[in-house]
């Protein structure tokens, strides 16, 4: 149980978690109706659980790389992104105007009206 082994395992676990998260979101993008999504999500979970007990670091690395390639192949072309997040429709839509700008009301009417 050397430190480098543990560090590699921790990095792999983090990659697996992030991959699971993105795959789950992608599943929700493809299968919009909830009952279909639950079935697909269980299937995804089964796939992750089946490889849970692998111990060898290189095998794990290879499996993660394969899974990431599969994820990239299956990515939805128009994913649902929350509107105000980067990539969404409201992102930087109405930025706050820079300070020091004043609106002049009644332009041209100051003098003789």
């Amino acid at each position: 149980m050397s430190a480098s082994y543990l560090a590699r395992r921790a990095a792999q676990k983090e990659r697996v978690r992030i991959l699971y998260r993105r795959a789950l979101k992608d599943t929700l993008n493809w299968a919009v109706h909830r009952h279909l999504f639950y079935q697909d999500a269980s299937g995804l979970r089964e796939k992750f659980e089946a490889n849970k007990h692998v111990e060898d670091l290189d095998t794990i690395d290879r499996m993660i790389a394969d899974a990431e390639a599969t994820y990239n192949k299956w990515r939805h072309p128009d994913p649902y992104i929350v509107p105000w997040a980067p990539g969404g429709t409201k992102f930087t839509r109405n930025p706050t105007p820079p300070s020091g700008i004043e609106i002049i009301y009644g332009y041209g009417r100051e003098d003789n009206d």
Partner: protein, 125 residues
């Protein structure tokens, strides 16, 4: 959120006994205050955040609802897996209509962190 609070505040008619003249009509103007539709200072209550986060965690099928408190750690106290952790964070994202970046979502490990993150997020719905 502010719009809903503003409308409720005006619709909720206070119970008051009618005086004999009964002519005190409340001029119910939704636009009484100039900024009734602005959400500038209307951030969500911490109590509401806690209640919603706990209800999300309790409705997770692998969790025992009686053990859920605001201080619970998902993996240590509730005995969940790291993949279950990911699922709970996704459920919280869906509940509050947030988008949590991957690195931040990885760090949310317990109810306390989740509540803090949600409460401090400016775009909580």
């Amino acid at each position: 959120m502010a719009l809903r609070a503003a409308i409720l505040r005006h619709i909720r008619v206070p119970a008051r006994t009618l005086a004999l003249d009964g002519s005190r009509m409340q001029a119910w103007n939704l636009f009484n205050s100039i900024r009734s539709m602005s959400s500038h200072d209307d951030h969500i209550d911490k109590a509401e955040v806690i209640e919603r986060v706990l209800s999300v965690v309790k409705s997770f099928p692998k969790v025992d609802p009686s053990k859920v408190t605001p201080d619970v750690h998902f993996q240590k106290d509730l005995g969940l897996d790291s993949l279950d952790n990911v699922e709970i964070v996704m459920a919280i994202e869906e509940e509050f209509k947030l988008e949590i970046p991957d690195k931040e979502a990885d760090k949310i490990d317990s109810c306390k962190l989740a509540i803090e993150y949600v409460y401090n997020h400016p775009m909580v719905g």
